[in-house]
């Protein structure tokens, strides 16, 4: 790859998946960057919601936390946290929930709770936060993460957020009426669930990425869609927008990049 990093490609590919009329529940890190790049390029009217209660935010820099002051200052309104989870998330008003993962399996199930046994963990991770109900209440779920064998695993240690379970019609059997994970954007590829099995399948490789590179950083045997395409490279506008956003963010946060 020349001219852009794999991380930039990931963020820009994620931004492209968002539509102008989406109402998007934004997590911190890559999802936040992607959502704001979308807002600053092709989706100026997108509604961004952070779980701290800020609805319709338009931050000039990326927040370090989900409750930074600028989110409130630029919001259409700021509601209490119970209202956010009851009226806005559970109320079915969010079209897209954006999640990251520490561990992800092929069916879009996510673990951000523990590595190892729950009661005697090898690594105690932060936990689910809003994710369990984001995964069940949003119209659909986009997941974004960097690929690694530690991250994309055959079996996750803990179901923090339910994706498609063991695949197929698992969501319907649980009484879930939302679509669940419909898109996985990594630093190497774009993945979509197979319509029948719900297994994530690579539908596009980012420029310069090989099938082997995708397989080497994934803990299950990767399936590639028949019509596999190449992700269009970032445009100059997309790249400039993302880099300017990151530069403003770094300056605002005292020279340190958002994690």
């Amino acid at each position: 790859m020349t001219g852009f990093t794999s991380d930039e490609m990931m963020t820009i590919a994620a931004a492209r998946a968002l539509k102008n009329d989406d109402v998007c529940f934004v997590g911190i890190g890559a999802p936040s960057a992607a959502c704001n790049v979308a807002r600053l390029t092709h989706a100026p009217d997108i509604t961004l919601i952070y779980e701290s209660g800020t609805i319709g935010t338009a931050p000039d820099v990326l927040p370090l936390s989900i409750g930074d002051g600028e989110l409130c200052e630029t919001a259409v309104t700021t509601v209490s946290v119970p209202e956010m989870f009851r009226y806005w998330l559970q109320g079915g008003r969010i079209s897209v929930g954006f999640l990251g993962a520490a561990q992800l399996d092929r069916f879009g199930n996510i673990n951000t709770t523990v590595i190892g046994d729950y009661h005697t963990p090898k690594v105690r991770l932060p936990g689910g936060g809003g994710a369990p109900e984001i995964a069940s209440s949003c119209g659909e779920i986009f997941i974004t993460m960097k690929q690694s064998k530690r991250g994309l695993v055959d079996k996750i240690d803990f179901f923090t957020s339910f994706g498609h379970g063991e695949g197929g019609h698992a969501r319907e059997r649980l009484g879930l009426r939302t679509k669940g994970p419909t898109l996985l954007i990594t630093d190497l590829a774009i993945w979509k669930p197979d319509p029948e099995t719900k297994e994530f399948t690579v539908t596009a490789l980012h420029p310069g990425v090989t099938r082997e590179a995708v397989q080497e950083t994934c803990g299950w045997p990767v399936r590639f869609a028949p019509g596999l395409v190449e992700t269009p490279a970032p445009t100059a506008l997309e790249l400039d927008t993302l880099r300017a956003l990151r530069a403003r963010t770094a300056a605002a946060h005292g020279g340190q990049e958002v994690a």
Binding site: P63, L64, S80, V81, L89, P126, G128, E133, H253
Partner: protein, 285 residues
């Protein structure tokens, strides 16, 4: 009825060993000064409740105040894991900490139910999650009209809740503005509520009729502690000290570095230091 007093007095007269205590704040208005005072006063065996335990809970857990933690997301926001909490959970240092873990939706509903005087909260959640299997306080009820199974969790009713707010008026009414989080519910759910504020004003003249105001008779004690949310922020007063959050990661990584930092910055200090800590951050608002 709210009584104005020093923070030391507010803490010593409202939180006791063995209490269930919430120091709430959702990124914004986190009551750091109050938590530091509880550390100085050496409280023990607390059940600490918070949706988003972050570095100040890392400090309390590392200093051995906590018997149990009830929470939904334990991290250093935007930075990473809580290393003192991990040391307690993974290695039992300074002693083991019992964990009751929920989702944000569950905790938000549980505080709401506590404020509403209900024994439990009912919501749609936890479908397909492992948490429902490991936490016996996640149960269900059946909707008597549709037959749908809904999640139920016990309401949260802390013995004491601490929050930080922008203003009190002379009578002791408290105004919270901006990202109001779960503070109103945490106060109303508690037996006793203690509020630290940036300042006291004569009255709230001109405040919006629907602003978040806690009437004086819902609060036990108010202590004036300018900067008392640092390194968190106070909307309209000072900005978030992001650098302190980033630096915490290295401090908390090592037991000795942690203890030295706590001695220097908490044990050997008092609530008056907070005003100085936010002096440079006031300009950023």
């Amino acid at each position: 009825m709210a009584t104005f007093m020093s923070l030391a007095e507010a803490v010593s007269s409202n939180v006791f060993d063995g209490d269930t205590a919430a120091f709430e704040g959702f990124t914004h208005l986190i009551p750091h000064a109050a938590a530091h005072e509880a550390i100085r006063q050496g409280r023990r065996d607390l059940t600490l409740v918070r949706m988003t335990p972050d570095i100040v809970y890392d400090q309390m857990i590392g200093m051995g105040l906590a018997k149990k933690l009830i929470f939904s997301y334990a991290g250093n926001p935007g930075v990473g894991l809580l290393r003192r909490l991990r040391d307690a959970v993974e290695n039992g240092w300074p002693h083991p900490v019992e964990i009751e873990e929920h989702s944000h939706a569950a905790m938000a509903n549980a505080y709401e139910a506590g404020a509403a005087g209900l024994p439990c909260a009912v919501f749609r959640g936890y479908k397909g999650t492992s948490l429902a299997k490991v936490n016996p306080n996640i149960r269900s009820i059946i909707c008597p009209f549709t037959g749908e199974e809904l999640a139920a969790v016990p309401s949260i009713r802390p013995d004491v809740t601490f929050i930080h707010a922008q203003k009190a008026n002379r009578r002791g009414d408290v105004l919270v503005e901006g990202i109001i989080g779960i503070q109103k519910e945490a106060v109303l759910a508690a037996r006793r509520a203690v509020v630290t504020v940036e300042e006291v004003v004569e009255d709230f003249a001109g405040v919006h009729p629907n602003a978040c105001v806690l009437p004086h008779w819902t609060v036990k004690a108010i202590a004036v502690v300018p900067g008392g949310a640092h390194p968190s922020y106070a909307h309209g007063y000072y900005a978030r000290d992001n650098r302190s959050y980033l630096e915490w990661d290295a401090i908390a990584a090592d037991r000795e570095a942690f203890m030295a930092w706590m001695k220097q910055n908490v044990l050997d200090k008092d609530a008056d230091v907070f005003a100085g800590r936010v002096a440079a951050l006031r300009a950023a608002r």
